[in-house]
């Protein structure tokens, strides 16, 4: 029922209108309750996205300007993507995103699956172990970054400790090395998120019908075969969910890089998220910053939209 219907209802004869008006209010109430949230989402999510897209086509530098200049910012990003000598910070960001994203996702999934399978062997003390693998997920990325920054600092952390216990040749300075600093982000990221992936796989394993496994065992399948041929293929939906969640976390990663590396030596740990932030707020290149934000949004949408679409559709069936 639209507002115009409600208003026109008032023109009706008096006595029944009083009831009709109330009923109509009652009928419209659910929509009135939902409206503010929906309006806020439309404005502050979708409206703002349009605004950002608009800004990316302007020549905004230190302050937003609203004169369209066209694809300039995207052209610059495109040129920078191939500027390898010396690498532009966008090139570094894109390459790092590739390295970080692929390693983070694959290691988290591999480790999560491994621990889930191990935990699923009727382990005593599972109730104690499971929360241990999962607690990093409750921490802020800033806390994780602070802890690992210390841990990986060659002068004071792991390297010095190894020297102190007699392993003199131990050398681990990735966090100070511009070629390897992005891998330290992978380490800390995996530490934080792999327990969560484990929980997803464990839930998936517990959902598998025990009869299938019994049948396979009766047919003489070995444990390894059982997992490779039957259980892991049955977990395909969990792989998909884990991939989606991790990919979207990887693209959004910002806090961890900032806290762990502060951008890395010479900006070597740049990611699209840090690139966006520095171009928008400190390098006075708002249009370029907005263009990079739009690219991030498109990448995430390319992953999330088909997934949500299929999930919602499946639900409707």
């Amino acid at each position: 029922m639209s507002i115009t219907d409600k208003l026109s209802g008032r023109d009706a004869p008096r006595a029944p209108a009083a009831i009709g008006w109330r009923e109509r209010l009652q009928e419209a109430l659910p929509k009135i309750v939902l409206a503010p949230s929906f309006a806020v989402t439309l404005i502050f999510v979708y409206g703002f996205i349009v605004w950002t897209v608009y800004l990316s086509f302007t020549g905004s530098k230190m302050f937003p300007s609203y004169d369209i200049v066209g694809w300039q910012s995207y052209q610059r990003l495109w040129t920078w993507t191939f500027e390898t000598d010396p690498p532009s910070s966008w090139y570094t960001a894109v390459v790092n995103m590739g390295i970080f994203g692929s390693l983070y996702i694959s290691i988290c999934i591999a480790l999560g699956l491994l621990i889930a399978i191990l935990l699923d062997q009727k382990i005593r003390g599972e109730g104690i172990l499971r929360p241990i693998y999962l607690y990093p997920m409750a921490l802020s990325f800033i806390v994780t970054g602070t802890a690992w920054k210390w841990f990986l600092d060659p002068g004071i952390g792991l390297e010095q400790t190894m020297h102190a216990i007699g392993w003199e040749s131990f050398h681990f300075d990735w966090i100070k090395n511009k070629d390897f600093v992005i891998y330290t982000v992978v380490i800390a990221g995996v530490w934080q998120a792999s327990g969560f992936v484990m929980a997803m796989f464990l839930a998936g394993l517990r959902g598998i019908d025990g009869e299938i496994m019994k049948a396979a065992q009766i047919d003489g399948a070995s444990t390894a075969q059982l997992y490779r041929r039957i259980i892991i293929p049955l977990l395909r939906p969990v792989f998909l969910s884990a991939f989606i969640v991790l990919a979207h976390m990887a693209i959004k990663s910002y806090d961890l890089v900032v806290a762990l590396t502060s951008g890395g030596p010479g900006g070597a740990a740049e990611l699209p998220s840090t690139f966006m932030y520095s171009y928008t707020f400190s390098r006075n290149q708002m249009a370029v910053g907005s263009a990079s934000a739009v690219i991030m949004l498109m990448t995430i949408s390319a992953i999330i939209v088909p997934y949500l679409y299929s999930e919602l559709k499946e639900k409707a069936r």
């Binding site: 999962l134 602070t146 919602l312």
Partner: protein, 308 residues
């Protein structure tokens, strides 16, 4: 995740069992190590840190670093510790969690029990908003919050109070409420979807109103999902860095931003023990929630991961 029976084979020789327990134990040690090192380091003196082994227990455990982190560590130019920022975070988290949870409950109720044409589209649009990279709304929001600041100043001049306009904590509550709505709506919608509609219909026939049904029938049956939502929102908002770093500065920074400043503004000797104590303090609220209600925390994560 309930502790239902393992699907694993549980067979195998003693050797296999030993290997399995060994691996699980090793992983547990690796996962615990950073927290352990953070904790013991926060009880050490600086000399001990610079000379010693990071895995060794503190020789003379002391709370000095904790006291300093709480009360006198330097955040940027002011050296009053992180206590003020801790309270900033609390003042930001409590209203933001409360408002977004209440709205989420109402939205979930409408979207499942009072469906209208287009309810799916509304839900899909709200759901997608959970996943956008916040970078794509960061700058417009900064502009809008800047205008709020101006409104606040004008109100201050004309009526003597800014009504909260332009206050950084109010701004962050506003921002977190908006960008949390998608998740809270998702949680309640999925929960109420499974709630028997017949009960709602029966109450309607008996003449119960929209809010009576919500308040008397749904809310008393919503305790688990309320706990899940509150924990999820609490953890997310407490741990947020991007919005805090973008929209609050100086005295109004939330805890995470202040912690990052403590760690990165060390002039001269880096006081690792103070940094670690500050990090543990920043982590305590969410860790505490995790220890007390881990089950609900996991449920929230899973509900946020397995959509629809």
């Amino acid at each position: 995740m309930s502790a239902s029976a393992s699907s694993g084979t549980a067979g195998g020789s003693i050797v296999t069992r030993v290997v399995i327990y060994g691996l699980l134990g090793l992983f547990a040690v690796i996962y615990l190590a950073p927290l352990f090192v953070m904790l013991i380091t926060s009880f050490k003196s600086l000399d001990e840190i610079y000379s010693g082994n990071m895995l060794a227990l503190p020789r003379n455990p002391s709370l000095d670093a904790w006291g300093k982190a709480w009360g006198s560590a330097c955040v940027g130019l002011t050296c009053e510790g992180i206590k003020g920022y801790f309270w900033n975070s609390i003042k930001m988290v409590v209203p933001a969690v409360a408002i977004s949870t209440c709205l989420g409950a109402l939205n979930g109720y409408v979207l499942t029990k009072w469906r209208f044409r287009g309810h799916k589209l509304v839900f899909a649009l709200m759901l997608f908003s959970c996943f956008i990279p916040f970078q794509s709304v960061l700058l417009p929001m900064a502009t809008v919050l800047g205008h709020f600041g101006e409104i606040g100043r004008q109100l201050q001049d004309s009526i003597g109070t800014s009504l909260g306009f332009g206050n950084p904590t109010v701004n962050l509550v506003f921002v977190h409420t908006i960008y949390g709505l998608g998740f809270t709506t998702l949680f309640f919608r999925n929960y109420y979807e499974a709630f028997p509609t017949e009960l709602v219909k029966a109450a309607q026939v008996d003449g119960a109103s929209f809010f009576q049904i919500f308040w008397r029938i749904l809310i008393p049956n919503s305790t688990p999902i309320i706990v899940v939502t509150v924990i999820y929102q609490f953890t997310n908002i407490w741990n947020d860095f991007l919005f805090g770093a973008s929209y609050a500065s100086g005295e109004s920074m939330p805890m995470t931003v202040a912690l990052n400043n403590v760690v990165n503004t060390s002039t001269g000797v880096v006081e690792y023990n103070v940094n670690m104590a500050a990090a543990v303090i920043a982590a305590l609220p969410t860790l505490l929630v995790y220890v007390l209600a881990g089950r609900y925390f996991v449920r929230g994560l899973m509900a946020g991961a397995v959509k629809g």
